[in-house]
């Protein structure tokens, strides 16, 4: 693969990812409304929301918060660029982690109790899903003998038949990243909750719009990582089906679950997620899978 082609795909990814992410959010709201017996907003509603937010007067609770908002978006875009350049999967995950971390740090820089609580809970979410994401890179590396995304493409076989246990664990991480019930403890996308809007309570106007765009990038990146599980061979288009299928599973899980507590989330993510990945690593080592 030539360098020019890779750079071109990175540029396309940076432009197209938020469009796909916003559209997915719009379809998400529409489907959720239909599942609840409502008609729901038009599917381009998230774009209306973001444009409107850019037109609001900026109100910042502190300079640090503003800086962390920009850092959040910049680091997430960096992670998307690394992914499109087919770099090291671990680097992508680490940059994604540091980007995501800017959000609670910015929230914690404000004294509002809701923002503080939301920030702490966001950190607990990281504690829950970050080990799953990082550990999931290990069975992939064991199979493809390399941590880079290039090595997944060069492996020549789909990963899902060997690593479906890891895939299930990644779905748990995806639900937490997408802030879906039962894991929407740090700031729910929909209903009122005890934390007002949790981690994004103190972000408003254009800064909230930047966070929303960053969230679209984050979601598309996570879905693309899930798509890597069937990216080679003649059935490469299955990667898109797998990514969209996982996204749809998240919608159903969101609509049939209530919000649960952070301690339950930690127990579930560690007790089920990490154990699943560890089992997969064991099976790959024993050459059972």
């Amino acid at each position: 693969m030539s360098t020019g082609w890779l750079v071109g795909s990175a540029v396309v990814a940076v432009i197209v990812a938020p469009l796909i992410g916003g559209l997915l959010r719009g379809i998400d709201r529409k489907l959720t409304a239909h599942m609840q017996g409502r008609i729901g907003p038009p599917i381009i509603q998230p774009f209306y929301d973001v444009i409107k937010l850019f037109g609001k007067k900026p109100m910042v609770a502190g300079g640090a918060q503003m800086a962390f908002t920009y850092a959040y978006l910049a680091l997430i875009i960096t992670a998307v660029v690394f992914f499109a350049l087919r770099q090291d999967l671990l680097v992508v995950l680490f940059v994604l982690f540091f980007g995501g971390l800017c959000l609670p740090i910015g929230a914690l820089s404000v004294k509002s109790p809701y923002s503080q609580f939301g920030g702490h809970r966001e950190l607990l979410q990281f504690l829950a899903y970050e080990p799953i994401l990082l550990l999931a890179a290990i069975p992939i590396a064991l199979k493809t003998s390399g941590f880079t995304i290039v090595s997944i493409f060069e492996y020549g076989q789909p990963l899902l038949p060997h690593l479906w246990i890891t895939f299930i664990a990644l779905l748990i991480a995806l639900a937490i990243v997408m802030r879906k019930s039962p894991f929407d403890i740090s700031g729910s996308e929909h209903a009122h909750q005890e934390l007002v809007r949790g981690v994004v309570t103190e972000y408003s106007g254009p800064y909230l719009a930047l966070i929303e765009i960053g969230h679209w990038y984050e979601m598309v990146l996570l879905l693309s990582i899930l798509g890597l599980f069937w990216v080679t061979g003649s059935l490469w288009w299955l990667s898109i089906i797998i990514a969209l299928g996982s996204w749809f599973i998240m919608l159903i899980v969101d609509n049939i679950n209530a919000r649960l507590t952070w301690s339950w989330m930690l127990k579930f993510a560690w007790g089920v997620g990490i154990v699943l990945v560890a089992l997969n690593i064991l099976f790959v080592n024993l050459r059972w899978m």
């Binding site: 709201r29 409304a33 609840q36 017996g37 409502r38 008609i39 729901g40 907003p41 038009p42 509603q45 774009f47 209306y48 929301d49 444009i51 409107k52 850019f54 037109g55 609001k56 007067k57 900026p58 109100m59 009122h192 909750q193 007002v196 809007r197 309570t201 103190e202 972000y203 408003s204 106007g205 909230l208």
Partner: protein, 140 residues
């Protein structure tokens, strides 16, 4: 009409504050969220956070007990913003107008854009009021 004013018309986020109403109007506001009226069709979302809201929906008469809270919420909303008063109590004080603890209508405390009278106001009237307030938002 520019893209920004279109977006403003299509995405009004509401903040609902009860100044001490009898809950009649509040129930009607929440009725607008149910599948029957489904105001999310128009991109209207009921927010719990003044910093994210575009439109403030107030029910009940202004009173000495919580007018500071009302003014604080109003000031926390970033511009451009609109205020809608729902129900007769909020418009003029209603049946409470000469009580010692009552200041009067909401417009004695904060500037009001749209008055939705009624005891209680119908959900259709509330949605009409929001649409009227949006016209003000889209030109500012």
């Amino acid at each position: 009409m520019g893209i920004l004013s279109t977006a403003r018309m299509k995405s009004p986020w509401l903040l609902h504050f009860d100044c001490g109403s009898c809950n009649g109007c509040d129930i009607e506001i929440l009725a607008a969220l149910t599948p029957l009226y489904d105001i999310e069709r128009f991109g209207i979302v009921n927010m719990g956070n003044p910093k994210h809201a575009d439109v403030l929906l107030v029910t009940g008469p202004a009173n000495h007990r919580n007018y500071r809270v009302l003014r604080n919420l109003y000031e926390q909303m970033p511009d451009p913003k609109g205020v809608i008063v729902v129900g007769t109590c909020g418009c003029t004080g209603g049946v409470f107008h000469n009580c010692p603890n009552i200041i009067g209508g909401i417009d004695k405390v904060i500037p009001v854009d749209v008055y939705v009278p009624g005891c209680a106001a119908r959900p259709e009237a509330i949605i009409d009021g929001v649409v009227l307030a949006l016209k003000k938002l889209s030109v500012s």
